[in-house]
């Protein structure tokens, strides 16, 4: 339904920001994780956003075909941050290497907190956009009253 296009777009924005917060929570929870299933320390996760046609529902696909250029956003969690890991000297640590160094995850607390703030604000902005679309629809129902 044409009425709901703006809402579907906002919905995709909310989903994307939710995924971003998931990635940040994972990074924060694993800020001291020195061993993962793959071996080695935890690798920082990042939500990469890219614009995409509104997914998942038939109405979304139809809306995209009816007015091309109507794009939502989708988020993808990736671990391609290649910055250097900090290493500390702690020979008593079970995960220390032969020379006694422990490799810490490449997660920076301050950076994650700022990213979290940005994601939450963006989420709020999407909620505001959704509510505006809703109040526009409600106003249009008052036409001719």
């Amino acid at each position: 339904m044409n009425l709901f296009n703006a809402m579907e777009v906002s919905s995709s924005g909310l989903n994307a920001q939710r995924t971003a917060t998931h990635a940040i929570s994972m990074n924060l929870a694993n800020i001291h994780t020195t061993r993962t299933d793959e071996g080695g320390p935890y690798l920082r996760k990042q939500a990469i956003l890219s614009s995409s046609p509104i997914p998942s529902r038939f109405s979304g696909i139809l809306a995209e075909r009816m007015n091309p250029g109507l794009l939502g956003v989708k988020a993808e969690v990736r671990t391609d941050d290649t910055r250097n890991h900090e290493m500390i000297f702690d020979p008593t640590h079970p995960h220390a290497d032969e020379s006694g160094y422990v490799t810490l995850p490449n997660v920076n607390l301050l950076e994650e907190m700022v990213g979290l703030l940005a994601a939450v604000r963006s989420y709020e902005a999407n909620v505001t956009a959704f509510n505006s679309a809703k109040s526009m629809v409600l106003k249009s129902l008052e036409i001719g009253k």
Binding site: M1, F4, M7, L14, N15, F130
Partner: protein, 99 residues
């Protein structure tokens, strides 16, 4: 605005088809169709909202997805109510007509 011609205004309600042929036009089934359509749309969205709420409680969907589905159902319902109001008022207007 161009010239208004009474005949042109009247002809759609008489149901003149292409080439001046008369097409059977059933006002009752039209009335029913419009009302049915809007009720069905609202109902579909309610079913979707119900599904989304259920999926949310099972942890398959986020809260915002359920809320959005609920809001869409709410709006569709309001639209349906407005369609009904308009149709009822049109009906009442016709019933008031002096014969």
């Amino acid at each position: 605005m161009g010239d208004l011609k009474i005949q042109e205004i009247l002809s759609p309600s008489l149901g003149r088809g292409v080439g001046g042929r008369k097409v059977a036009h059933d006002p009752i089934s039209d009335f029913k169709k419009i009302l049915n359509k809007s009720v069905r749309e609202a109902n579909d969205l309610f079913a979707q909202a119900d599904q989304a709420t259920q999926a949310m409680t099972f942890g398959q969907k986020d809260v915002h997805q359920a809320m959005i589905a609920l809001e869409q159902a709410n709006l569709a319902f309001r639209l349906m109510i407005q369609v009904r109001n308009k149709m009822i008022s049109a009906y009442e207007e016709i019933m008031r007509m002096q014969v």
